[in-house]
Every structure is written in C-alpha cells, then in structure tokens.
Symmetry: C2
Subunit: 292 residues, 2 copies
C-alpha cells in the first residue's frame, strides 16, 4: 500500500540482469549484483527526472545457488536502496536455470522529462565522464598482467562496473533548468544519444573531441590496444545522463559534447570519426554484455 | 508518465514465470504464457482489492527462441491486458538461458485489504470452486488414454491451467462488504489460507466437506488415482480469492469453507483429514510447478 504524492506523475521502469551475461562471479560479488540491479533501474528514473520511491525484485534462482549467495544479493539490494532513498516493497522468487534479477522501480516526478523533446540547436550534455565502466570491465576481464596495476591506480574503473551510481540529483537539476530530453547512458553514449534524436525527430552531432573521458580510460585503451573513444561512446553502463539542453540553460556539472541538428536524415556525426562507425558502437543486447 | 488517481493507494506486485517450470511448450501455447504472466499478477492486485492499471514486462530470451514465438507471447500479454483493463507501459528484454517473463503490475485501491486483518470468528470464503487448474495440468501431463476425453468433456480444466482469470471484480466487491483479509489462491487453498491466519495471528479451520470442487475435478481424481481434496487444497493456481469475511457480511457468489479461530497455536484443521497433511499440501516453488 503505497501513498502517491499528490501533483506528481508516476514513472515506472524495469530491467533484468542475468548471471553470465550482465554479471559473473568472476568479476564481481553477489552484493554488487544486487546493487547493480537496483542502480540501473534508478538510473532510468533519474533520466525521467523522477525521485526514486519504491521497487520490487523478481528473482530466478538455480537449485545449486547457496542461500548465503542470495542473502548477499539481497544485502546489495538493501545497500543500494538505502544509498538512493528507495524502498523495497515486494518480490518474487522462482526456480530457474540461471540467477536473474528483474527489478521494477517506481519513481515520482513533478516535471518528467521525455526522450522526445530535443529541438534543433539544443546542446547535447552529459553529467559525467564516460568510459569508466567499459574500461573497468575490460581490465577485470583481461589476462594482461599490467591490468591489476591500472585497476589499483584507478579504483573508479572497477567501481563503475560493479557499483554504478544513478544520477538522480542531476536528473532533477537538469529538469529544473529546462532539459528538453533525457536518457541514461546504459548502452553507450552513441546509441543512447541517437535514441534521443530519433524520438525527437532531430539530427545529432557528437563532438568526439569534447567527449569527457573518465580517469584511467585512456591508460586502459593504451594497455589493451583499444580505442578510448570506442570505450567512451560504445562502452555503455556509465549511467551518467545525456540530456538536450537549450543553449541558454545554465547548470554547473554538465559537459557539452555535441548538439542536436535540424536534419533528421543525418542523425549522427562524430567529428574526426565520420558517420559510419556510430551504428556499430551502439550496444546490442543479443551480443552479450558483461564479459560477453 | 502515469497519472495516479487522487485518494487511492498504489499497490504493486511482481511475479516471474520460467519456461520448463511455470509453463512448457508441450502443455500450452506462447499466447497462453503471456496471458498467464499478466493474469497471475493481476490476481495479486485483485487480492488487495485494487483495480488493475499498469504493468511492465521484463523478458529473458534464449538465443534459439524464434521471433515469432516472442510475438505470440506479446500477443497473449496484450489479450490479457485488454481483457482486464491494464496497460503495458514498459519492458525490458535480455538474453538468458531460459525464456522467463517477469511482470510487475500496478493497481490502485480505494480501500486496500491486507492479509493480516482476519479476526477469530470470521468466515473463510472463496470466490469460486477449486482444483480446476491442478486437474487440468494433471490431465494435460498424463499419458492416460482417457485424459483427452475428460479434457474435452470439461474444457474449463485446461483453460484454468492455461488462461487463469484474476478475480478483480470480486476483490472489489469483497472489500466493499468488509473483507478483513484476502489472498489469491496461487499455491493451493491450504497454504494460502494459512498465510492469512499467520499474518492475522489467528487459527484456521478448513471444512473440507464444504470446499467447492470445480467441475471435472472429481472425475480427474478418479481417473488418475489422485485425491480430489489434494487437487483442491494443494493444487494451486486456481486464482480464486480466499477472504476472511465477518459473519454478518453479505455477498453473493462467495462460498464458505472454513473459519478463523482464536487459537494461533493450532493454525489449520481440516475436518475429516486432521492437521498433519496440510503443511504437505502447501506448494513449494523449489519442487517445481507446471509439469515439474
């Protein structure tokens, strides 16, 4: 029995994480899985400028899973709920061939921001640097002996993969200064910003020289022979927000890295890279995610 | 962006169905799976005296699943939403080793009914006869040649297994006449009514001679050498409502089959069966469900 706040819209989002695809015991702890299942959903709420309120968790659990592992998953769920002010209000548990965590999160928004409101001329802004989660995952999965050194030197990289933090406060702040469209960067900035342009019927330019790289991303790319821009634009799971902001809107803490254009026929242009690679950078769930 | 109704509480429920455990291609069609994933959640809303409003669906899908199968699952989801007045407002899809459907349903209740309000002296009522879903599943799974004849003679049995109908209108009606506690019969009346007694701190008597058997349940039990009362009390998935009603409450269409008692130490007594078997009748998710 939940009490909706008068005058607010209700927003709802659901996301399912599956062991072996979205997380693996080799790269993170059960507490991290629970945390992440909550955080990725709250990130969707953040992108709608909602405050996190309630969530429910439906688990499928293989018979061989120790109860202690489940308790650790629930502990991570609880930690994330406390950290971000959401209450776990229901759940279901069923047998299944893989551990999966389906979270549905409910939030309330006074002024929800859609994906579809970007206008030509709006700036493309992000609420933080990119590539940390992809670099963390790449290092954690790597057999390269120097990977451990980079993970120790840049602890934010593994943390970004294991314990993402939804940008709830920034979502509210962006709505307040007039953001016209928002999305969270869960599948890579290239693909996610493209969703904004598509939903809004605009074009989009991403200025790759302005895309902020998280600390350690360039070093990771150099070590592993990867393109740092591919980690930043296509890596996904950074859970910063990407927003369309009117040119005159003023908000500290956001970084401009492109603009929405009038021509929906040429949706994405990455300066210095060209247009073709962008589709390839967009994340495809059926090619796998963590470790996939 | 959903508009909560002023003056109503929000209720939320989640339930995950997994192929091979909750449904199998041998016994039902993909449209049925989608229907059932919706219906079992709406049944939980019915038990809280809520009106069904919105739902979200998180799927995990094995790589080998044909797109046509998924389309049929979605078609069944849509049919159930239309049948019961709920709107599908979001979803997620992820790769996974088994097809699973995690539905979260949101409802609104003016006067929600908890599980914990039953008082000694209240009647235990059900909104319909029991055992049809268990009998249907038993016949569908049976190698007995005469099973097909019974399925044809009692089409409600297979339908109860494949296309359960949540008792939304009865939930509202029960709340209106003063039901003090409600639950939907998803795991068998014995176990589910026990949940009411436990939550309410009362005892419970189930009068087995008063438990209404669905048409065909007795015939199925006779054919398969099963106990009809075990199908009715322990079979589960009937999705009728079990409610505690004050002695003076008046509502057509509900059937008395027991009463709540003062002594919480002796929680369940089945006339003519005794006390011991009841715990064994309660459904255990980790022993499997459909066909398990």
């Amino acid at each position: 029995m939940l009490e909706p706040t008068p005058g607010h819209k209700l927003v709802v989002t659901t996301d399912v994480l599956v062991e072996g695809l979205d997380f693996t015991a080799a790269l993170s702890e059960p507490e991290d899985w629970g945390w992440k299942a909550v955080a990725v959903n709250l990130s969707d709420l953040a992108a709608m400028a909602a405050e996190a309120r309630w969530l429910v968790l439906a688990l499928t659990v293989p018979e061989a899973t120790p109860v202690a592992t489940l308790e650790r998953v629930y502990a991570g769920v609880g930690e994330a709920c406390r950290a971000f002010g959401a209450a776990l209000v229901g759940g279901d548990i069923s047998a299944g061939p893989a551990l999966s965590l389906a979270v549905t999160a409910l939030g309330e928004a006074e002024r929800p921001v859609p994906r579809s409101g970007a206008r030509p001329g709006d700036r493309l802004c992000v609420t933080g640097p990119l590539g940390a989660a992809a670099a963390g995952l790449a290092l954690l999965s790597s057999a390269e002996p120097a990977a451990a050194g980079l993970l120790a030197r840049f602890p934010g990289l593994a943390a970004a993969h294991r314990r993402p933090a939804p940008a709830l406060a920034m979502g509210l702040a962006l709505a307040r200064v007039g953001a016209t469209a928002m999305i969270d960067v869960s599948d890579g900035l290239a693909g996610d910003a493209l969703h904004l342009a598509e939903a809004s019927g605009t074009g989009l330019e991403i200025h790759d020289s302005a895309v902020p790289l998280a600390p350690g991303v360039a070093e990771t790319a150099a070590l592993l022979g990867r393109d740092p821009m591919a980690l930043a634009l296509g890596g996904g799971e950074d859970f910063v927000l990407a927003a369309a902001l009117p040119r005159t809107a003023d908000l500290g803490g956001v970084l401009d890295c492109g603009r929405f254009t009038p021509d929906p026929g040429r949706r994405v242009r990455v300066t210095g890279v060209g247009e073709a690679p962008l589709a390839g950078l967009a994340f495809d769930h059926f090619r796998g995610r963590a470790g996939g």
